[in-house]
Subunit: 297 residues, 2 copies
Amino acid sequence: MRAAVFAQNGHEPLRQTRIPTYVNGETSIDRLIQLIHEITPSDEMIDAIGIAVPGPIDPFRGVILAAPNLPEWGGILIPERIKAATGIRAVVGNDANLAAVGEWQYGAGQGHHNLVYLTISTGIGGGVICDDRLLLGHQGLGAELGHVTIDPNGPVCSCGQRGHLEAYASGPAIAAWVHDQLANGRISSLEGKPDTKVISQAARNGDPLAKEVFERAGDILGLAVANYLMIFNPSIVIFGGGVSETGDLLLDPVRRRVRKAVLSDHYLEGLTLTRAALGDDAGLYGALTLARGTLPA
Amino acid sequence: MRAAVFAQNGHEPLRQTRIPTYVNGETSIDRLIQLIHEITPSDEMIDAIGIAVPGPIDPFRGVILAAPNLPEWGGILIPERIKAATGIRAVVGNDANLAAVGEWQYGAGQGHHNLVYLTISTGIGGGVICDDRLLLGHQGLGAELGHVTIDPNGPVCSCGQRGHLEAYASGPAIAAWVHDQLANGRISSLEGKPDTKVISQAARNGDPLAKEVFERAGDILGLAVANYLMIFNPSIVIFGGGVSETGDLLLDPVRRRVRKAVLSDHYLEGLTLTRAALGDDAGLYGALTLARGTLPA
């Protein structure tokens, strides 16, 4: 868990810290509240707390709907809980949505009015700005951009469905495909069960298997991005998350496929495809926007 | 081409008429202007004209971007042209987008804030309402919901790409699959080159091939609808267009697949999947909303 304190109009955190979510015998709720107390300056008033939460949440009430990794949060009205413990108003949003907001307000998406953000990491999440507003949907569950079917006969996704984008292009999906190829006797400089960092290094050193897996993931990701161009007609698509740090290894095949797969070249006019600017801090900046109440509703 | 006149606050057309788009020697532009003159009551002031145009348009300037069937419209600033000929202010929108608006304001979608509309006809078009606003995107080219890839190895679409939703579930795609099966010697009560009306009648009479093609189209359509639930989290999905008039023949397999393919059952809570209420008039009502300036921007 990470936390930062910002001055009323400042863009640089006054203080920033991170702690492990779990330690023996303490709940992550208690640890979060403790973290807030620790980071709060004793001589300053805090107006509001913005919180980015992983997984599907009801952002209107501030309740996590499904969090296999955070079971003790189930059913808890997070803003009420934080307010009771700290006396400070709190607002909650989905982490990928808030990362999109962060990049839009403070990062690569500044000045754009229609933006698609994809975070490519352990899973694939999304956030969308439509005409200067965050896409939420009627329950706040929209923009699940990693869990759309790309191929009904494709590999099984972490969610159990077949052929989702996440099942091709997430970090674990990229690694699993390489492990599978190695187990089937594919010749490569890689051995054992390399992770995406090791695989990307091998790709840069010219390993054909490592290059192929990024071609494959980027190609499918490009197909999904082309779909999102037709669906949202954004002026920018931003790629965040650990896997996007491989850069052109992943984004070159994305660009190639996008150019081929769009319905017309109009969708490419004035379009930027780029990496995120804020890295891991995107969610913090989105939560800042939420806390400041400057997110257009 | 069809036109209707509405009173300032009325929901029933005062007059309505339709004419063929082409007759020998007249351009469709001249015919449209003539149609406007004919339907305008001589003793009434017309405040504004709303126009629903097929195919991709720039709705901000009112220019058709690609209209293979309407070549003489290319590059024309439609609102300026209509204003010059009639003296009346005109506004233009994409027909599927405006059908969505029509159903939202006057049809099956009344009272909903997040709505997905799919028109299933010669092609498949879409319109989306996000949080009470029409989704347009930065050039007005969003919501092309028929041209998303469902299967990269699927059949070729009218647009030339592979495996788009339209390549499975449009009227011509349904008919083409049946023609193909018949040409390959499939036993059926159908013969020759039946159209979707004839095929749907045969399905109702129990013909296995005819039933199968609607199962297939509905299943793929359901997969696309599940994607749109995850993307937009709407409270209603409305099916318009000629093929949707086959009703449960198409929508039962859609519902079955949607239930299986959603990421979580939350997406089904408070969700309505239904046929359009306004039929062919949805676009007229959307154009009415546009002309009245009551479309939230």
